[in-house]
């Protein structure tokens, strides 16, 4: 019997791997939602409505997790018993931390100066950097099966994601 505890890859009938066929993932997600979504059960008894909400919630969470590289990488690590522990384990390479500090300074200055161009440029550099890390994560997880490198890469990506959010917030603040 299917249950809400099965892994997200199995839910969508996909192989467990970081490399993912996005078209198949989307198709499987829509196929499942088409069957479990609460709109299908609005005229049904409460039992069915409750089950439907649980499954639709589960499918949404599963899709969100597998869709984004960072969440997918983190999930694969958790499946293998590794907790990337963003909050506690901050033993990152000094180079990376130095780069982070530089970026934060640049962000602070651009925000202060309301410099939209610099913010956009920062966002672009950040995206390029994220792409490199995602490629590294793919190799670490799918080819080398090196969980330590994968966990380190996931932590770095998490840093970049936070920074990306802050840049977006700064850009949004400039608009309003």
């Amino acid at each position: 019997m299917l249950d809400l505890k099965q892994d997200y890859f199995a839910l969508f009938g996909l192989p467990v791997s970081f490399a993912i066929d996005m078209t198949r993932l989307e198709q499987a997600y829509l196929d499942i939602q088409a069957r479990v979504h609460p709109d299908r059960f609005a005229h049904m008894p409460d039992t069915d409505k409750r089950l439907s909400m649980q499954w639709a919630t589960h499918a949404n969470e599963a899709f969100r997790t597998l869709k984004t590289p960072l969440a997918r990488g983190q999930y694969l690590l958790e499946m293998q018993g590794v907790d990337p522990a963003f909050e506690t384990n901050t033993a990152m390479s000094p180079d990376f931390l130095m780069e982070q500090m530089e970026w934060r300074e640049a962000l602070g200055e651009a925000r202060e100066a309301a410099d939209e161009d610099t913010l956009e440029e920062l966002a672009q550099r950040l995206r390029a950097s994220s792409r490199d890390l995602i490629a590294r994560l793919a190799v670490a997880l799918d080819e080398h099966k090196d969980l330590a490198v994968a966990a380190d890469t996931v932590r770095r990506l998490k840093f970049l994601e936070k920074l990306q959010h802050e840049i977006n917030d700064a850009l949004t603040a400039l608009e309003s």
Partner: protein, 622 residues
């Protein structure tokens, strides 16, 4: 002669008759009700052949309540007891409402939602809205010739939890079974998308009387997927009227008009605004009760000048929504215009300039939301075969979070998450030996609690005393398909649990609703007991019917013993429903739900396996 058709066993989709379901657009200025009749969606008319019901409620001294045009006629005569644009007050405190100083009402700043003192006593916006909904319900039941099974009510996409809950409460008060709260731009997208077989990324720009929404959707065959939504829940056509009203006061040198004069000038302002859509200039001549003379000519250029920044104000949420969707204006294939306020030429022009293409105005901006809601209600009521349905994936408009130390917000569910959704986060204690914890639930995008909307506060007690930071309290947020939140908290070690439906701070407490229901029924000389018995009987019937249908298709999922148990549970429920005791029916319904749980799980399971076995969504016909 045509042969009679007999369906394959288990394939007949609806053995029972067409269920009466309607869509209601509960608007700031006007409200409408629509349904799908013989496969054709249409707005229902009142006795005079009108579809638009002005969202105005007049409380008379003799206890009568007038709704619609009759009430509208009283706006300038009895302003204090004639409530217009009540939607602006839904789920809102007095401090959240703009322009209160020019409103002729006697506000009561109650805790939570603002109230209005009328000749018939203090009224909550929920009660006022319920009058509008009741009027539409009666119109629909007369027109369709029977009681409604369920309704879809539309709300602005940018409505927060308190505003959604208030809308649902109003429906309950009006005796309506809400199948779903549907976001207005999404409803418009359904109507537009199905009509035009649209595919690709579309933006719905919805400027109503009091609210602005922008939704970015990805449409493909059989799927409506909202990618991002944004808006301003207190910006709409009313604000354009208000600008013009202020301009008229200034240019006619009137300082402090009376309530009645204010109302007349506001009504005039709206009229002028509407006429300026076609005319280049409109003369305004009126004598006020104060004796002041107004003799002005409003040119369209002037009107555009004084309201241009209101249109600019709508473009900010548009930019934010596009950013959240990761899209550029050029990625948008078409811009659907919704809401009466989008008739203003400068709105169309500025939106067109922003997107680099003329917006789509080939549908009636007043009725499209109600039509879309009616189509969705028809699906939700089960009137269409499963393979003819479409899939609608909507999102939550504003982030939901919890207050942490220092008045900061920890976001638990981010905006634009696809609903239904649930997220959990672990928190811990701050002090040694701390045994209780307050959870303060907020909604909004800001980092400070004080800048977000407070939704609820609840306490988790009975945490075992431990050193600070040792307890693990998991707080779970669940948002349902209506966009409504419920929150639970649980100490992981001991299992101490607290659960709340989010209502207290800005909604109405349950007992308040119960009191209103009671007084409402007394007023209508209806019997609440009878009503409640009937509701339970209808529910029992619905459950039995659905189960019978399920057994027809999936009886193979049960072995003989299980089947016998389910049959006897059905028989017990049938017996109870035939009786007159509400409590017995309730108890039987609950025990039936327990008995059928396993069967329901297996059917869901089978259905999901079917999805994986390759019944693809491309097969869905719409």
């Amino acid at each position: 002669m045509a042969l009679l058709q007999i369906s394959e066993p288990g394939m007949s989709t609806e053995p029972h008759q067409h269920r009466l379901a309607v869509g209601i657009d509960l608007g700031t200025t006007n409200s409408l009700v629509a349904t799908v009749r013989n496969g054709v969606p249409q707005c229902l008319q009142d006795d005079e052949g009108k579809t638009l019901l002005p969202s105005v409620v007049h409380y008379l001294p003799d206890g009568h309540i007038a709704v619609g045009r009759k009430a509208q006629a009283a706006l300038a005569i009895d302003p204090r007891n004639t409530i217009a644009s009540v939607k602006r007050f839904m789920g809102r405190g007095l401090k959240d409402v703009s322009h209160v100083e020019t409103m002729p009402y006697d506000f009561v700043d109650a805790e939570g939602m603002v109230r209005l003192r009328t000749v018939q006593g203090v009224k909550s916006p929920v009660e006022v809205s319920a009058e509008i909904l009741r009027d539409l319900r009666i119109r629909a039941e007369r027109s369709l010739g029977g009681e409604l099974t369920g309704v879809v009510i539309t709300v602005p996409a940018y409505f927060d939890d308190a505003q959604r809950q208030a809308t649902k409460d109003a429906a309950r008060l009006a005796g309506l079974n809400v199948l779903r709260l549907l976001n207005e731009p999404t409803a418009a997208a359904i109507a537009y998308g199905l009509e035009n077989a649209s595919e690709g990324v579309y933006a719905v720009y919805d400027l109503g009387g009091g609210t602005f929404d922008i939704s970015i959707l990805r449409l493909s065959r059989g799927v409506f997927e909202v990618v991002a939504t944004n808006g301003d829940a207190s910006l709409g056509g009313d604000d354009f009227d208000h600008r013009l009203f202020c301009w008229m006061l200034e240019n006619a040198s009137i300082s402090l008009p009376s309530d009645r004069d204010s109302r007349r000038l506001l009504i005039k302002a709206r009229e002028v605004k509407e006429r300026l859509t076609l005319d280049e200039s409109v003369p305004v001549r009126m004598t006020l009760e104060s004796g002041d003379e107004v003799d002005l000519v409003v040119h369209r250029d002037v009107f555009v000048d004084i309201t241009r920044n209101l249109v600019s104000k709508t473009l900010k949420p548009v930019r934010k929504a596009l950013r959240d969707a990761g899209l550029e204006p050029a990625d948008v294939k078409g811009v659907v215009m919704v809401g009466g306020a989008t008739r203003m030429p400068h709105v169309q022009q500025m939106v067109g300039e922003f997107f680099g293409q003329p917006p789509l105005t080939n549908l009636d901006p007043d009725t499209v939301v109600a039509i879309g809601a009616a189509m969705q209600a028809n699906v939700l009521a089960g009137n269409r075969a499963a393979e003819e349905e479409w899939l609608l994936l909507d999102v939550i408009p504003l982030s939901l979070g919890i207050e942490t130390m220092g008045g900061l917000v920890e976001k638990i569910i981010p905006r634009n998450a696809t609903i239904p959704t649930a997220r959990a986060q672990d928190f811990t204690t701050f002090k040694d030996g701390q045994t209780a914890m307050v959870c303060h639930v907020v909604q909004g995008e800001r980092e400070l609690v004080s800048a977000c909307r407070s939704l609820a506060r609840f306490e988790l007690r009975g945490i075992p005393p431990m050193v600070a930071g040792a307890a693990r309290i998991r707080v779970t947020f669940q948002v349902d398909a209506d966009g409504l939140l419920s929150v639970s908290a649980r100490e992981q070690g001991t299992g101490v649990e607290a659960r709340v439906e989010v209502k207290p701070s800005y909604g109405l407490a349950d007992h308040e609703i119960a009191d209103m229901l009671k007084s409402g029924f007394e007023h209508a000389r209806d019997d609440m007991e009878v009503r409640s018995l009937k509701e339970q009987q209808v529910e029992a019937e619905r459950v039995l019917e659905a189960t019978e249908r399920a057994l027809l298709a999936d009886s193979g999922l049960l072995d003989a013993a299980e089947r016998a148990a389910l049959d006897s549970a059905m028989a017990a429920l049938r017996d109870a429903a035939a009786g007159q005791d509400v409590r017995t029916i309730k108890i039987q319904l609950e025990s039936f739900n327990r008995a059928s749980n396993e069967f329901a799980s297996r059917r869901m399971d089978k259905s999901i396996r079917g999805a994986l076995a390759g019944h693809k969504i491309e097969d869905l016909r719409i």
